[in-house]
C-alpha cells in the first residue's frame, strides 16, 4: 500500500532592491507526475503541472509576505523513487535552498509545502 510523505521546508528570501519585480517558479522534478500551487499569504495565485514563471509583484510590496509553494507528487518512475519539489524565486537570494527531495517506496505519494518569507 503506497504511503504519503508530507514535508514542509521554510526559507527566507532576501530581495535585492525595492523596485525588483519578483518571479517565482515551481518545478516537480525526477520526471514524476504531480501538480503545484502558489499562495501569497492566504491568497491563491496560480496552479499548474508544468513549470511556469509566476509574477508576484515588486520587492517592496512583498517584504513581510509569505509565499507558499505546495505540491502533490506521485512516484510514477520505475527508475527512481525520489520525489522532488523545487521553488526558485528571482531576483534575490533564498536561504536555505527552497527544495524538498525525499525518497519513498515505489508508488508513494508526497505532499510538500515550501514556505518562503520575504525580507
Amino acid at each position: 500500500m503506497p504511503k504519503t510523505i508530507s514535508a514542509v521546508r521554510v526559507a527566507i528570501h532576501k530581495v535585492a532592491s525595492d523596485d525588483d519585480k519578483i518571479v517565482a517558479r515551481a518545478t516537480i522534478g525526477e520526471g514524476q507526475e504531480g501538480a503545484w500551487s502558489m499562495h501569497l499569504d492566504d491568497k491563491f495565485i496560480k496552479g499548474g503541472t508544468a513549470p511556469e514563471d509566476v509574477k508576484l509583484g515588486t520587492a517592496r510590496k512583498l517584504r513581510g509576505s509569505l509565499l507558499e509553494v505546495s505540491a502533490v507528487i506521485k512516484d510514477v518512475r520505475k527508475e527512481t523513487d525520489r520525489l522532488t519539489l523545487t521553488a526558485r524565486v528571482t531576483p534575490g537570494e533564498t536561504k536555505p535552498k527552497a527544495k524538498i527531495s525525499q525518497s519513498g517506496d515505489p508508488g508513494d505519494n508526497a505532499t510538500y509545502s515550501i514556505v518562503i518569507h520575504f525580507v
Binding site: G34, L66, D81
Partner: protein, 474 residues
C-alpha cells in the same frame, strides 16, 4: 498584565480551528475547496477511464525487467533475446541460489546492474522532458552491469585421471535505449479531468496561512524564556510614514485602509519573529515542526480519494508501447580456480534488439556479433540473428524465440558446423505482485551434442528497488 493578554491573543490565533482553515483555504482558492459538482463527476469518470486502461495493460508489461547484459554474455540468462525496457536505478540478480541437494548454497551466478544517471537527483527533469526522449534519453537509459558465473570443467590428464577445474567467469556490460518508442505524456495530460483534480488537490492541501496565523505559529515556537521579550518587541511595531502613504494611496475605502494597515503591521511583526527564529535553533525547529504537523492534518483526509487513480497512473507509466530499440555490449574474462593471475579474455559481444509492442503482443528482433576465445590461442566469431514473440495477458505471458548462429571466418581445416540454432519456449506467471515464476525449455546452440536440450525454472522476486531474481539452475 497587558503582556499576558497579548500572548493569549497571539496564541489564540496560532491554532485556528480546522473549519476556519478550511473556510480560509476555500475562500482563497475556489478551484480547490469549491470544485463544481460537474468537475468532480468528470474527474471520477477520468479515474474510471485510467483504471480501465491500466486494467488492459498486462502485468508482464508493467513490471518485467530483462536480464543484465553481463548475465547474457555469461550464458546464464533464461532467454537469449531481451526485450527493450526501462532501466532501474539498481537491480541485483542472483542465480543458482537454491537447491544442490535441496540445500541452500552461495549463489554461483551474480549480476549487479546500475543505471548511473538515476543515482543522482534530477530536480529539473519534468515529466514532459522525460516523455520527449531524444539524445538525452541515451544517457538516462544507460545501464552498467557486472556479473560472475562459476562452473566446473572436467578434463583428463595424460594418465587418464579425471581432473575437475573450477572456473569463474567475470563479465561487464553496458546497455542503453536507442529509440524510446511512443512518447508517454503524463496521466494528467492524457486523461481529461485528472489535471484539474491534481491542481485542486495541490491547492486544497496547501497551508494557505494568513500573515497573522503564521505570525502566531512563529510566536508559539519562540522558546518560553524569550516570549516576554519578543512580545514586547511585537508591541512596539508601528507603521512608518512611507507605508502609511502607500496605504492611503492604494486604498480609497476606509475599510480597505484598515485591513491594509493591519496587514502592514503583521508584516512588520513577521520580521521581528523571523529574526528571533533565525537566531535561535530551538524556535526554528519548533516552527518547522508546527508547520509540518499542520500540513499532515490538512493532507490526511484528502489523498485517499485520488490514491486509486494515482496508482493506476503509475502502472500505465511503467508499460511502454510502440517501437523500441536497445543496444548493448559486454565483455567476459575467465579465471580458472578463481586465480586472478591465470585470468584470460573469454569473449565480447555487441547487439541491438528492436521490439514493437502492442497491448498484448510484442515482437522482438536481435542482431548480435560475438567473439569468443574458447582457448588462449583460438578465436571464434559468430553472427546471430533471432526473433522472439511474446504474448502477454493479465498475469500470464508466453514466448517463443529462435536464434540462428553462423560461425564466421571458419578455417577450411575446421570440421565444425558453420550453422547452429537455438529454440526456446518460456511461460511466465505472476504468483503475486512482483513475484514471477518462469519455466523455459528448448534446444541450445550445441548442435546435436548430448546436453543441447535445456530446461530452466526461475523465480523472480521484486522488492521494488533493487529487485532480486532467484532462478534455479537446469
Amino acid at each position: 498584565m497587558r503582556m499576558t493578554i497579548a500572548v493569549v491573543a497571539v496564541l489564540g490565533a496560532a491554532a485556528p480551528s480546522a473549519r476556519a482553515q478550511e473556510a480560509a483555504v476555500a475562500g482563497a482558492a475556489p478551484a480547490a475547496g469549491a470544485a463544481p459538482a460537474g468537475a468532480a463527476a468528470e474527474a471520477d469518470q477520468a479515474a474510471g477511464e485510467v483504471a480501465a486502461e491500466a486494467e488492459e495493460v498486462p502485468e508482464f508489461d508493467k513490471l518485467h525487467t530483462p536480464d543484465s547484459p553481463a548475465f547474457v554474455i555469461l550464458g546464464v540468462s533464461p532467454t537469449e533475446i531481451q526485450r527493450p525496457t526501462t532501466p532501474r536505478e539498481v537491480s541485483l540478480s542472483l542465480s543458482t541460489f537454491l537447491t544442490e541437494g535441496d540445500s541452500l548454497t552461495i549463489p554461483k551466478n551474480l549480476a549487479l546492474e546500475i543505471a548511473p544517471w538515476w543515482l543522482w537527483s534530477h530536480p529539473d527533469l519534468t515529466i514532459d522532458d522525460y516523455g520527449r526522449g531524444g539524445v538525452s534519453s541515451l544517457w538516462r537509459r544507460l545501464t552498467l552491469s557486472v556479473g560472475t558465473a562459476t562452473d566446473s570443467v572436467t578434463t583428463t590428464d595424460a594418465g587418464g585421471m579425471a581432473i575437475e577445474t573450477s572456473t569463474t567467469d567475470l563479465a561487464v556490460g553496458v546497455r542503453t535505449g536507442l529509440h524510446d518508442g511512443v512518447s508517454r505524456s503524463s496521466c494528467a495530460a492524457r486523461v481529461k479531468g485528472v489535471d484539474q483534480k491534481l491542481r485542486a488537490l495541490a491547492t486544497s492541501t496547501a497551508l494557505a496561512l494568513t500573515r497573522a496565523q503564521d505570525n502566531a505559529l512563529m510566536f508559539a515556537s519562540v522558546a518560553a524564556a524569550r516570549q516576554a521579550e519578543v512580545a514586547q518587541k511585537l508591541d512596539e511595531v508601528k507603521i512608518d510614514a512611507e507605508d502609511e502613504a502607500d496605504i492611503v494611496r492604494d486604498n480609497r475605502e476606509p475599510e480597505k485602509r484598515e485591513a491594509a494597515r493591519a496587514l502592514a503591521i503583521e508584516k512588520k511583526k513577521s520580521a521581528v519573529l523571523l529574526a528571533d527564529l533565525v537566531e535561535h535553533d530551538d524556535g526554528n525547529v519548533a516552527y518547522q515542526a508546527a508547520l509540518t504537523r499542520l500540513k499532515q492534518e490538512r493532507v490526511r483526509p484528502q489523498l485517499e480519494a485520488l490514491e486509486a487513480v494515482f496508482a493506476e497512473c503509475a502502472e500505465l507509466e511503467a508499460a511502454r508501447r510502440g517501437f523500441l530499440v536497445d543496444g548493448g555490449a559486454a565483455w567476459a574474462w575467465r579465471f580458472p580456480e578463481a586465480s586472478a593471475s591465470d585470468g584470460r579474455f573469454l569473449a565480447w559481444s555487441a547487439w541491438a534488439s528492436a521490439s514493437y509492442q502492442t497491448s498484448w503482443l510484442s515482437a522482438v528482433g536481435l542482431v548480435r556479433s560475438q567473439n569468443q576465445k574458447p582457448t588462449a590461442n583460438a578465436t571464434d566469431n559468430y553472427l546471430d540473428l533471432g526473433g522472439r514473440a511474446i504474448v502477454a495477458r493479465k498475469k500470464i505471458a508466453a514466448s517463443a524465440e529462435l536464434v540462428s548462429r553462423w560461425l564466421v571466418g571458419k578455417d577450411d581445416m575446421d570440421d565444425r558446423d558453420s550453422w547452429y540454432w537455438h529454440l526456446a519456449f518460456a511461460a511466465d506467471y505472476m504468483v503475486r505482485d512482483g513475484t514471477w515464476v518462469t519455466v523455459s525449455f528448448g534446444k541450445d546452440f550445441a548442435g546435436s551434442e548430448a546436453g543441447s536440450l535445456f530446461s530452466t525454472a526461475n523465480l523472480k522476486w521484486g522488492f521494488g528497488e533493487p529487485s532480486v531474481k532467484l532462478p534455479a539452475s537446469p
